[in-house]
């Protein structure tokens, strides 16, 4: 195209007479790549009003559990569970059965004992590296309560230091507590990790 033609072309203006859409982007038909609006997902706790002493007792149990983990007090952690207690970290929030689906953790007390024995063994090579965690538990919300059973929802943040690398894990705890002769014990701890589907640079060695 020579210069003369360009000059002539510039003289032919375009007039936009009506607004056909609110923005340019909206004038493009939606594609089919899954970027449309998605319905709300995730779990919203149903809070029950409970007396302050009960709330405090339950919170104390959750905070104590976190302290056991940070202190590597594995037996102390296991003792918080009832005899039939289960620690379960599903790989996906839609999972409903700890024993029939692929999980990150699915452990009864016997398997917890295996894990504890492993991390305490002098030749557990992965334990040689300096390794610490720091848990914070909050948003503690009692969802149902009877004389025998409490369902409690909470959120956690966990920072892990291993050698010189920091990792951040967070998610939701849902504890089912049962009354036993030695007080409230954990019958089921469900841990929905927000980063459950992420690629991990290293495995998770102990309960979160």
């Amino acid at each position: 195209m020579n210069k003369t033609v360009v000059k002539e072309a510039l003289g032919e203006g375009v007039v936009i007479e009506a607004i056909q859409s609110m923005t340019g982007a909206e004038s493009i038909a939606p594609d089919h790549m899954g970027r449309g609006r998605v319905p709300a997902s995730g779990y919203i706790p149903k809070a029950q009003k409970v007396d302050w002493a009960t709330q405090q007792e339950v919170e104390h149990l959750l905070f104590t559990q976190a302290a056991h983990l940070d202190a590597k007090s594995w037996q102390g952690f296991i003792d918080l569970f009832s005899e039939d207690g289960v620690y379960w970290m599903p790989s996906n929030p839609s999972q409903t059965d700890w024993s029939r689906e692929a999980s990150i953790f699915a452990e009864d007390k016997l398997l917890m004992e295996v894990r504890m024995g492993r991390v305490q063994h002098p030749n557990a090579w992965s334990q040689a590296a300096h390794w610490e965690t720091n848990h914070v538990v909050g948003n503690v919300c009692i969802e149902s309560i009877t004389a025998e059973k409490i369902e409690v929802f909470s959120k956690f943040q966990m920072m892990e230091l291993r050698r010189d690398k920091v990792r951040h894990f967070a998610g939701t705890y849902r504890h089912t507590l049962v009354k036993t002769s030695t007080g409230w014990k954990i019958k089921l701890q469900r841990v929905d990790l927000t980063n459950a589907q992420g690629a991990f640079d290293y495995v998770i060695q102990a309960w979160v």
């Binding site: 016997l110 295996v114 024995g117 290293y202």
Partner: protein, 235 residues
């Protein structure tokens, strides 16, 4: 990949988990007469070197290979018997026996795929960078097979292959240390001489006479060198 067919490392690398699982397994056997099979998955890792030496590796050209079975995954419990009967019904006695009698722990398709057929696991290693790989593991449900057969695969997945595995934790740690060593100005050579010259060759396939022979690594790195040589020559 070397790790998948290596019979020497389990009792060293996985000693902590094997010993711990065996302790619980033996207590359950004493108390109840039996223990769930999945304790056995973990406790066999801590078998003795002599036991591992009795397991054979078969090493094909181009780095492919097989580690033969050692977990005794053809028991005679009702679930397995039901499964075997279903297979016979579906494929006939002869074919079913052929499938069931294949003595395999891992099949390795070099350089990236590992199939663990007795427990329906598939592992794929994807290289990202010279010091980084992604390890992806699937487990499968066999169509029409009894539920307990799936449960077996699931529990192996949960205990051995999940992101909170009590097994791969120590593999990964040792690989990381190996990588750090190779990146350093330490030794330039890695020795894979164990049982060199003591394997049996037949039609280009190397059969180990000791399960812990490093013929696995020799075979794989020979293939790797063959892949790299034309590239170097071209450069």
């Amino acid at each position: 990949m070397e790790n998948q067919l290596d019979a020497l490392h389990p009792s060293v690398t996985h000693q902590s988990t094997g010993v711990s699982a065996r302790r619980v397994e033996q207590r359950l056997k004493t108390e109840n007469g039996s223990a769930p099979l999945f304790f056995h998955y973990l406790s066999t890792f801590a078998s003795s070197f002599d036991q591992w030496d009795s397991v054979q590796t078969v090493n094909f050209p181009n780095g492919h290979g097989i580690l033969k079975a050692y977990m005794g995954l053809r028991p005679t419990d009702p679930d397995t018997v039901e499964y075997e009967n279903l297979l016979k019904k579906a494929y006939g006695d002869e074919k079913a026996e052929e499938y069931l009698s294949r003595s395999i722990h891992h099949v390795l398709i070099y350089p990236y795929l590992s199939v663990q057929s007795p427990l329906q696991q598939l592992r794929c290693l994807r290289p990202v960078a010279p010091n980084k790989s992604i390890s992806e593991i699937w487990h499968f449900r066999l169509k029409g097979a009894p539920e307990p057969i799936y449960q077996r695969a699931l529990w192996y997945y949960n205990l051995v292959n999940s992101p909170a595995t009590m097994i791969n934790a120590d593999d990964l740690e040792n690989w990381t240390k190996g990588q750090l060593g190779l990146e350093s100005k330490g030794g330039e050579w890695v020795s894979f001489h164990r049982n060199y010259g003591q394997d049996t060759e037949k039609d280009g396939v190397l059969y180990s006479n000791n399960g812990t022979s490093e013929v696995v690594m020799r075979s794989q790195f020979k293939a790797w060198a063959n892949y790299l040589t034309p590239a170097f020559k071209a450069a």
